[in-house]
Symmetry: C2
Subunit: 204 residues, 2 copies
C-alpha cells in the first residue's frame, strides 16, 4: 500500500477513483484466495474480472502477481492500535482485542491459512507474506513486552518469544474452542485472557 | 473408526484387506480435502478413484459422505498419549509434544483449517467434526488440569478453559512463528512452553 502516496502526488485528481479500484482489487484477490486451494491457481485475469477492472489497472499498480498477493495479505492485518502507554495490561488488552476480532473473521482465517500452507510450493512468497503480516506484529509485541520488563510490570527473566506465542495463540484458540458458536463469545474475553497470562508474566 | 471391531468380529478372514482399504479411503479423503477449497466439493466417486477402491467398498463401511468425513478428520488426531500420572508437568509436556508434531504437519493443519472454515456452509458437519476431534482433547486436558488443582500442583482459582486455550494455542503459535523454517524448531520446545505457562498456573 506504500505507493498510494505516490499516486496521490502524481495525479491528485485521480486519487479517489484509484483508491476505490485498489480496494476492489485487494478485496477481489482476498475473495479468490479464500475460494481457492492455493495461491498458485490465482491469475491476474481472474482478479481483474472479479474486481471489475482491466488488467492494465492492476499492472499500473502492481508489477506482478506476487506483489499484489503480498499487499492483499497485508491488508488483512489492521495495524495494531496506537498503544496508550499508560499500563502494560491496557496495551496488551488492546492488542488482544485485535487478535480476537481477526480470529472471528472466517475469511481472514481462511486466507491466512491458505497462504501459510504454501511453504513448500512457494517458499519465497510465503517468506514475503510472513514479513508483511506476522513480523510487524511480532515486532510491536516484542517492544511492548520489553517495555514491561523495563518498567518492572513484567518479570526480568520473561521468555519473550514464548510470551508472544501465548498472547496470540491463547486468544485464537479460545475463540476457536467455541467451535461453530463464536457468536456466543462473551464480552471481556480479551481481558480474561490477558489477566490469566499476566499472572505468569508478572514479577513474583 | 469404531466399527473396525465389528468388521473384525463379522469377517475375521477379511479383516487385513478391509483394514488396508479403510486406511486407503481415509488417506484419499484427507488428501482430497487438503487439495480442495471446501468439504462440499468432495465426492464419494473422487475418493473411491483416489483410494483405488470401488464406491461399494466405501458404502459398505460408511453409509454417507458426512460419516466418512468425520472419521477422516478424527484420524488426523492421534489419541493423546497415555499419561504417566507422576507429575502434572510431565503429563502436560507429553500432550504438548503431540500438539507440536501436529502443528508441524502441513496436511494436518490444512485439512483442519478447511474443515473448521465450513461453519457457515455446513454447520452440523462442523459440529460433528468438532465433537470428534477437538472435544475429546479438551476433555483430557480438562481432567488433567482438574487433577493438578486437586493435587495442589495448580492454583485453586485456575481459569481452566483459558488455560486449555493457552496450552494448545501457545504451542501452535510458537511453531507458526518459525514461519517457513519449522525445521529449525529446537529440541525442548514443548518443555519450554509448558515451563513458561506453569509459572502462571502454579500456586503462588
Amino acid at each position: 500500500m506504500t505507493t498510494t502516496d505516490e499516486t496521490q502526488a502524481a495525479r491528485p485528481a485521480g486519487r479517489p477513483r484509484s483508491a476505490r479500484a485498489e480496494k476492489a482489487i485487494i478485496e477481489a484477490t482476498l475473495d479468490l484466495i479464500s475460494e481457492s486451494s492455493g495461491l498458485g491457481e490465482l491469475s491476474i485475469e481472474a482478479i481483474a474480472a472479479r474486481a471489475g477492472v482491466g488488467k492494465t489497472t492492476i499492472y499500473r499498480r502492481w508489477s506482478n502477481k506476487e506483489d499484489l498477493l503480498v499487499d492483499a495479505l497485508a491488508a488483512l492485518k489492521a495495524p495494531l492500535p496506537a498503544l496508550a502507554g499508560r499500563s502494560l495490561r491496557e496495551d496488551l488488552v488492546a492488542c488482544a482485542e485485535v487478535f480476537l476480532q481477526e480470529a472471528r473473521n472466517a475469511r481472514s482465517r481462511c486466507v491466512m491459512n491458505i497462504a501459510m500452507n504454501e511453504t513448500e510450493r512457494h517458499p519465497r512468497l510465503v517468506q514475503r507474506i510472513h514479513q508483511a503480516t506476522i513480523a510487524p506484529r511480532r515486532a510491536v509485541l516484542t517492544a511492548l513486552l520489553q517495555r514491561g520488563i523495563a518498567t518492572g510490570e513484567l518479570r526480568a527473566d520473561l521468555d519473550v518469544p514464548v510470551s508472544i506465542a501465548s498472547l496470540i495463540g491463547t486468544v485464537v484458540w479460545y475463540v476457536r474452542g467455541f467451535g461453530p458458536d463464536q457468536e456466543d463469545l462473551p464480552e471481556g474475553t480479551a481481558e480474561r485472557v490477558i489477566d490469566h497470562l499476566l499472572v505468569g508474566m508478572s514479577p513474583r
